[in-house]
Subunit: 318 residues, 2 copies
Amino acid sequence: MSYPHVFSGNPLDRADVLRRDETALADAAAAAESRYLLLWNLNVLIIEDHEAPAIAWLTAPDVQRLEIDTPPVLLGLDRGVAHFTLDVSALGDPLHELNLGPPWQFADARAAAARLPMAETGILAQARSQVDWHRRHGFCSVCGTRTHQFKGGHVRRCSGCGAEHFPRTDPVAIMLIVDGDRCLLGQSAGRLARTGMYSALAGFIDQGESIEEAVRREVLEEAGIRVGRVRYHSSQPWPFPSSLMIGCHGMAESVDIRIDQEEMTDVRFFARDAVRAAMDRLLAGTPAADPTVLKVPGPIAIAHHLIRAWVDGEVDFA
Amino acid sequence: MSYPHVFSGNPLDRADVLRRDETALADAAAAAESRYLLLWNLNVLIIEDHEAPAIAWLTAPDVQRLEIDTPPVLLGLDRGVAHFTLDVSALGDPLHELNLGPPWQFADARAAAARLPMAETGILAQARSQVDWHRRHGFCSVCGTRTHQFKGGHVRRCSGCGAEHFPRTDPVAIMLIVDGDRCLLGQSAGRLARTGMYSALAGFIDQGESIEEAVRREVLEEAGIRVGRVRYHSSQPWPFPSSLMIGCHGMAESVDIRIDQEEMTDVRFFARDAVRAAMDRLLAGTPAADPTVLKVPGPIAIAHHLIRAWVDGEVDFA
């Protein structure tokens, strides 16, 4: 099943053919009907004059006034209209230079995503990951010389050795491990520990490792639990900065938890009833204030959907 | 199901805790019992004095004679013994310097993988991807200054700006698209076109894209076919240089093929009987010499297993 995850559902055609033609790309970037999504220090320009916020698309004439050296990155086409994203972090106060004020604002991408229309969260994911990658890849990792972007941002080429560099996407395994009528949830060091929230375990997939191997390795490292069967559930782009969350369920083959104290502050098995109650409180908008009462992640995170599928009896290891 | 793909099944413990202790890492690298897998221009040192080849593990005293500046990369632990890989590409003739000749040889990694024991192909995948990444990341992509490795090779840190860089794994969607009793196979520009071999379509997953979205986009771009339901099958590390092949089946929702002529030389629907016959010839070791007769990929590739699962009636879109 294709899950309707936040940060997926991008409706733009990524326009692989247009990307191969630098002249057509330049024409599209200057065309009056083309649209621009602005990022400033990775915050996204939105407009909030209705009930819900929306991406504030600007036009080519708007952005030409800004005299930004950074080239725009092509996101794709919508019914023939080119959509770009532009990093305006070089400006001290881009809203002022654009003569914009409220209801326009630069918003934190994660906070905005929880309220933007679903299709716009997909566009935001693409834009934020691509801009972040270009910001961090102005030099060639092979020889140290400056790089420049081509193909509308799908490649950077070294002006010294000619090496080509492509935007990276980091696959992350995120897994709900099940032992009969209990599931394994953890608090990683940092943010979650102060909130009473427990979530699915997760970690980057290493080089030379399958998804299923990464699930087993991470759970063994973080919690000391051996995992047998692994079932893929769904996947979600997560643009902080450019992860691909690959959600799975796994069957526990051992029960004695041994926590990696550097990575995790707590890992426990929770009974299905307790997890269902936490999910019900969350969905009812009445999470427990008591930090000792279990809380689970909200629907912006794939972990929420992994937990919910198991609570609802949808996980089948057969 | 966890599929026994070539390049998976690495038995080493990646030793996350040992990686955090630079002194312990240095001790392990110098320990007489530690073992070294050598790569020379990405070819792997094997020994072939029995019926089948095997990785030729060397010892710390062996490699100390080589006076290589490149630091070893920790692969992991096997029953407490540290296993490293070492890039000896700086040497003109490492076999000579090691006083080794036949049956020792540096072999092409892909050719060797088809004959090595399965567990060793997993180790080879990890080693080849890691060495390739370090070779291409001696400089910081943020500021152009030199980088140095830490954590046994799990991070490179910039000596200028301090930015940390992590080995990359590139997720690739590879998909067998099914239309009733036919499946969609293609020849990409290049190698396959000269052999009569057709394979599953594939492409890198973009930033801000789920696995399922990448499957639909790539098939639409390369073949003009719309895809509905997508089902995950299995995944395979593919160390050329560092892909994670994510294998899926998908249901065609249109039938008129429109080929991307820059990427593909041919894409066609093939009847199940024709594909089964090609699979039977391959497994019997009697592929057709005639380049106009369908050939399918061998079992080293995940495409083989996607095709075989469909031929065998194991694909369920319900």
